[in-house]
């Protein structure tokens, strides 16, 4: 990436980090971008994990044992939160962009977040049960 492009990218990001006086829609947008970056990073981690299949089953299963251990449970929960938020806000934006609920954008965002929290709680419970084992 050329220096000028990098400088332009950094200038753009710095503009987004001016938080004073911002409203709910702005925070939703900012978290959407942030969660998108986290999901892309996770995608690369996932590709690294799949690459281990080429190394051999021992390496792959060793890595799986590591990430399925309870230490990684908070990371799984964070990943669910990020993914569910990205999906929920994306769905809300898509609904708005089809022309529905434009005047109730904030209410729609709150509704999507409530649904998102419920789905996240269930997903976290399920993965915790799987990771920690059934008592």
């Amino acid at each position: 990436m050329a220096t000028s492009e990098l400088r332009s990218l950094l200038a753009s990001i710095s503009q987004w980090l001016k938080f004073r006086g911002k409203h709910a829609g702005y925070w939703a947008f900012l978290f959407q971008r942030g969660s998108g970056v986290v999901l892309v990073a996770y995608l690369y981690l996932h590709l690294y994990e799949l690459r281990l299949l080429l190394v051999g089953s021992v390496a792959y299963e060793g890595f799986l044992r590591l990430v399925l251990s309870p230490i990684f449970l908070p990371f799984d929960m964070l990943l669910f939160a990020v993914g569910i938020y990205h999906g929920a806000n994306g769905l809300k934006t898509a609904i708005n962009e089809f022309g529905y609920g434009i005047n109730h954008s904030k209410s729609l965002l709150v509704l999507m977040l409530i649904i998102g929290v419920i789905v996240w709680a269930y997903a976290s419970y399920a993965v915790a049960e799987f990771s920690l084992g059934t008592p």
């Binding site: 503009q15 987004w16 709910a24 702005y26 962009e97 022309g99 434009i102 954008s105 904030k106």
Partner: protein, 264 residues
């Protein structure tokens, strides 16, 4: 002959409580390399606006502050500034203690609080900001039903104060984006029953820097002082743009449709 006796008005004693402190952005790009914030103390009055601070500084204290002002009643849209980081009109925003006043964000500063509006002017001039008619109207005033103009009237409230452009994070990161102010103007014309230029306008706002660039963040509508609903205007244009594209695809007339590949 009776001599008129001039009784001098009693001079009010200055009280520290009667003054407020404000911090104002000062920058002259011709002579300075970096902006600085200067603190001023001005006497507070009842129902004092930010514009009154500027007028006091220039007319009473003799400060060479550059700012824009015209109607003073929220109609001309020239006095947009950032008050504590939020885009506001100086002619209506109340003055407060400790306020930080800056020029509108996302525009180059000409001097102090005056920004270069050409970013907007150049864009709006390419979007045919006038009624396109097939024939001249026969009578005056023209017979138009209120119900026909209702949807247009919301967007026609826009006073081009550019607070929306200043609040938009997409304008902040991509200055090529047409922006909410110009798009609201286009929406008001597109929704006008007298106008016949919808297809031309929709084509102009359907490019990569047009309506598809908006992410429906809604900051533009939040800061709009006249409730012209710029985010709603953009979504209406987006809907019309999508329909226009579908019509063109179905009738195989996509050659003039703007795309990222360079056709215009």
């Amino acid at each position: 002959m009776t001599m008129l006796q001039h009784t001098p008005e009693p001079v009010e004693k200055e009280n520290a409580k009667d003054k407020i402190t404000v911090k104002i952005f000062r920058f002259n790009p011709r002579t300075e390399t970096t902006p600085n914030y200067v603190t001023y103390r001005v006497p507070i009055k009842k129902l004092m606006r930010i514009m009154d601070i500027f007028e006091h500084l220039v007319e009473v204290q003799g400060v060479d502050l550059a700012y824009r002002s015209s109607c003073g009643m929220m109609s001309c849209g020239s006095c947009g500034i950032l008050a504590n980081g939020v885009p506001k009109l100086a002619c209506v925003e109340p003055a407060e203690e400790g306020m930080v006043i800056e020029p509108l964000a996302n525009f180059p500063v000409i001097r102090d609080l005056v920004v270069d509006r050409s970013l907007y002017d150049e864009k709006i001039s390419t979007l045919l900001p006038f009624l396109i008619r097939e024939d001249s109207h026969l009578e005056f005033p023209e017979f138009v039903r209120h119900s026909q103009m209702k949807s247009r009237n919301t967007f026609a409230q826009c006073i081009s104060c550019l607070l929306c452009m200043s609040a938009c994070p997409i304008v902040a990161s991509d200055s090529d984006f047409i922006g909410p102010a110009a798009l609201t103007r286009v929406a008001s014309l597109v929704q006008d029953v007298r106008d016949r230029g919808m297809e031309t306008r929709i084509l102009k706002v359907s490019g990569p820097d047009g309506v598809s660039r908006c992410h429906f963040i809604g900051e533009c509508s939040e800061v709009c002082p006249v409730d012209a609903k710029p985010s709603l205007a953009i979504q209406i244009l987006r809907r019309k743009s999508t329909r226009s594209l579908l019509r063109r695809v179905l009738t195989l007339r996509t050659q003039n449709y703007p795309s990222r590949l360079g056709t215009s």
